[in-house]
Symmetry: C2
Subunit: 375 residues, 2 copies
């Protein structure tokens, strides 16, 4: 069971400890031991959301983020536990998993609804909330290097935050993700993820949710799109990597990226909060197995984006949408990255230079030790 | 006037010379002087297009492209004129502008329509055509370094190819673009652009074309969306960079990228082929001016994607869509790039770390010499 201890940083931001052990939770409940002694300036105002009439989409303008912390030295890491020489973002001598509001926030701190009648020139506050999830107190690693019990606590933290953020005023989508690797622009090395609570349904979510709803309607509500795709992938087996009791991981039939894996629950669940304890237990095992395979493909850690797609907070779209992870990497060879150039970035038309079946084969075989583990 | 001389490479691919001078055209009409003497292997089969049921979009699977030419040495450049030591893709001792079918093609050479009733598991030939546009015979540079007369010929070549490719069986969208800079994955240094003729309307095009049609309908066909936005930008002036007689360049109100400029014709034209000679003349001047400003922002050449959005070949969408250029750069500071991480890549929700007004101000002031021009 995960123990949850909420507190506040000196500028009013929420910080929440997630502990698997009673000892750690007791420490974090002792306010004198974990008070934020920094005299932080007041939080900045919420940035702007501008309506892009060309596409009907919102764009966040967050000029204050230019000055955000960029690859700080290890002894000044803002995600390490606080020491006398490093008053970090986490005012505790140790922690297991911790979540706090991002100081350089793209959305929020204000909450509310965006205008429904937006057109060219419409600006609104970029309502919402951005949180940081520190996966572990150790400074190096990523989700895949966590001990299973720590990974399990992170999953509980994601579930807790998904439920809490979904209840905030104006939130339409909660998005848990991990960016891994300097190659894709990570600015902090400490193992961490992020959670964005958007005041709109993001464009790609909306596209997927509408396709899911269309399939749901076409089957008179008998099948969700993800259920149909999962069944087809399990029946085929060609692209399957890991098939568990509650989850399956496969390279999707129409993968966009040179490395792309989808991890899908077997049961119809809208989001991480809806997973049962046995499902969370298996997810821990399956996800760590998957990330281990991803890192055995090359001699250096594989950069990736791990994106948890959850059902939008919309009464029409939500029943047809299912939780799933999309893990994508731009690495197309040991020393080559795929760049999003003209066709992908400007037109949204992806060209994949490898086949999903070949990638699945490589991931199925990526077990045990590899060259990098040998002396 | 631009003289057009079509020919074929030894594997059957089309190659077309575009010459402003009669002398150059005469050389290219002399078959014995410009025959392709290479014994190229037959062209590979067309790759696959797979239907992504999650999004309703097509993804090209082009495994044969993994082996494409990657930053070759200058004396083996495939876009330089042919010499005894370098039998390049262009079998002529010199040229002005040349267009040819890409040997490592994501779409084509087959042509035809994709199935309309696609679902999970649908694979079809990736019909279509990909062409390379060599801007000049000199090995280094980019569009912005071209002499005005050469730039003018490139515009004629784009227009010619847009019209010709639009007439091919099954083509739904013709896309002229230039990727500039190794930072965004350019694999050939020789100044060149590309043209993709897609067998579907690419996802971002479709989003823009639908928004344009909705605006057109809402105004009872009195105004296109681009006309309305252009008028608003010209009235405001806050983000205007260059205002000509036929074209205006501005940073869009809801720019997604740290550097983003839209260049829009004042008249309702669907594509580059529809531009008149006076419009093409002014476009040459305005576009070269714009690219000069873009390169004066930093001490090294600015990486960019220059994407010419043209009206889709669709009877409903086409009348509401207007040609425009979207020039975007991921560079957010002298030594920093914006990466598309979780929010942008997975969700399509962009966060811009600067303001469009500040960028417009920088581009308005980016005239004359800068540090890099000084001795």
């Amino acid at each position: 069971m995960t123990l949850v201890t909420p507190t506040r940083l000196s500028d009013g931001r929420e910080l929440i400890y997630f502990d698997a052990t009673a000892q750690a939770a007791a420490l974090h409940r002792d306010h004198s031991a974990v008070a934020d002694t920094r005299d932080l300036p007041a939080r900045g105002a919420t940035g702007d959301a501008r309506f892009d009439a060309l596409t009907g989409e919102w764009v966040a303008v967050a000029a204050h983020r230019q000055s955000r912390t960029h690859l700080p030295p290890a002894d000044q890491c803002p995600l390490c536990p606080t020491t006398a020489g490093n008053l970090s973002e986490i005012p505790a001598p140790d922690y297991e998993v911790v979540v706090f509001e991002n100081r350089f926030s793209s959305f929020g701190p204000s909450l509310g609804a965006l205008p429904a009648d937006a057109g060219w020139g419409t600006t609104a506050p970029a309502h919402g909330r951005c949180e940081v999830v520190a996966f572990d107190s150790a400074h190096e690693g990523s989700f895949g290097s966590l001990a299973p019990e720590r990974a399990r606590t992170v999953i509980d933290a994601w579930a807790h935050r998904t439920e809490a953020l979904s209840a905030l005023d104006g939130i339409r989508q909660v998005f848990c993700f991990e960016n891994r690797g300097a190659d894709i622009g990570v600015t902090l090395l400490h193992p961490h993820g992020q959670i964005y609570a958007y005041p709109f349904i993001p464009p790609r979510s909306a596209v997927m949710a509408r396709a899911a709803r269309a399939h749901f309607d076409a089957t008179d509500g008998r099948e969700t799109l993800l259920a149909g795709m999962l069944k087809a992938e399990r029946d085929s087996g060609e692209r399957m990597i890991i098939e568990g009791k509650h989850f399956s991981a496969f390279v999707p039939f129409a993968a966009r990226w040179p490395l792309e894996v989808h991890l899908v629950p077997h049961r119809q669940v809208a989001d991480l909060a809806a997973l049962t304890d046995p499902e969370r237990d298996e997810l821990t095992t399956v996800y760590l197995d998957l990330l281990g395979r991803v890192d055995r493909l090359y001699s250096t850690p594989t950069p990736y984006i791990a994106a948890w797609h959850q059902a939008p907070l919309d009464p029409l779209l939500r029943p047809a949408s299912r939780l799933h992870l999309q893990l994508t990497s731009p690495r197309r060879a040991e020393d080559k990255l795929k760049f999003l150039a003209g066709s992908e970035a400007a037109m949204g038309a992806f060209i994949n230079d490898t086949t999903p079946e070949l990638v699945a084969d490589n991931l199925r075989n990526a077990v045990g030790t590899t060259a990098k583990d040998l002396p």
